[in-house]
């Protein structure tokens, strides 16, 4: 079950011609999820600052 499915890093990247479909999907998903977390965290930080400034 834990045997590597590819014999080299090049094979892994190329995936018999299917790498061009597989990698963009994973990369875009990771980008969307990371940006979502970053955007929400930044908004919370800014809102906290605004609330703090308004109350002081």
């Amino acid at each position: 079950m834990f045997n590597l499915a590819f014999s080299s890093l090049n094979d892994f990247a190329h995936m018999d011609g299917h790498g061009m479909y597989v990698w963009p999907v994973y990369l875009l998903t990771i980008l969307i999820i990371v940006l979502s977390f970053a955007a929400v965290r930044t908004k919370i930080k800014n809102l906290r600052m605004r609330i703090k400034n308004a109350s002081s």
Partner: protein, 243 residues
């Protein structure tokens, strides 16, 4: 009595307190399991006999498709709670979950389209599964647009809840579309009833990816809901104390 119980345990203040403690657990286990599932699926799972390596998109496509539907179902439960018991936290949670639902439905549609190119020879087909998932994406956008179009937020909460409840009819249609109609999209490969047609060497990393994706989305949901609760309750004393 039920109403009193629900209102006691659904105050935004106690929700923020409890979920802030749970957040580190969800984010750490979610990202770890999602990474494990994807590395397992991309590096160690064997090549598919028919689809070759393009099938490896399954470790992303299936979790995102599952949660695209689960998030909407969650929203519909919240919508009922808001309409029946006037729980304001429920409305906040719908508003927080909708953009995450839209995001994950977009990922499901995008990954499915890319997977379709080498597998079906086309990136899009107006078949029942794909079309009903597109309708789900439009529903998420509709919920967000409807809520954003009212200046009276209480009225916006109620109308948004009604729209969510009406739209939940689409969820069983998505689920059963591959059985009710002849679709290009394949029938389900995994089933809770045990009729799973996928090999364990592919099933285990898929299951790990599903759990990891779920926990990651819950942690994003917690963050988004905190943001929305702070926005809505920014003039309350407990928010001033909390921040």
């Amino acid at each position: 009595m039920i109403t009193a119980f629900i209102h006691k345990f659904s105050s935004p203040k106690s929700y923020v307190r409890v979920t802030a403690k749970l957040y580190p657990f969800f984010i750490v286990f979610g990202v770890s399991l999602l990474t494990l599932g994807w590395v397992w699926g991309l590096l160690f799972a064997p090549q598919d006999a028919v689809q070759g390596n393009s099938y490896r998109i399954i470790f992303l496509h299936v979790p995102s498709s599952i949660f695209a539907q689960i998030i909407y179902f969650f929203m519909s439960v919240c919508a009922l709670m808001h309409l029946v018991w006037r729980v304001k936290l429920a409305a906040y949670l719908i508003k927080a979950a909708a953009p995450i639902g839209a995001m994950i439905t977009f990922i499901a549609l995008f990954s499915g389209s890319i997977w379709g190119i080498p597998t079906w020879g086309t990136w899009w087909q107006w078949d029942a599964r794909i079309t009903s998932t597109l309708i789900l994406f439009i529903m998420y956008l509709g919920v967000l647009t409807l809520h954003g179009s009212f200046s009276n937020l209480e009225k916006a909460d109620r109308l948004m809840s009604i729209l969510v409840v009406v739209g939940v009819v689409n969820i069983p249609i998505i689920k059963k579309s591959v059985d009710w109609w002849s679709t290009l999209h394949q029938p389900a490969s995994i089933s809770v009833s045990g009729n799973t047609s996928i090999d364990p060497s592919m099933l285990y990393p898929l299951f790990t990816s599903v759990i990891g994706m779920g926990l990651t989305l819950i942690s994003l949901g917690i963050l988004t809901s905190h943001l929305y609760i702070f926005l809505r309750e920014k003039n309350k004393k407990w928010v001033l104390k909390y921040v």
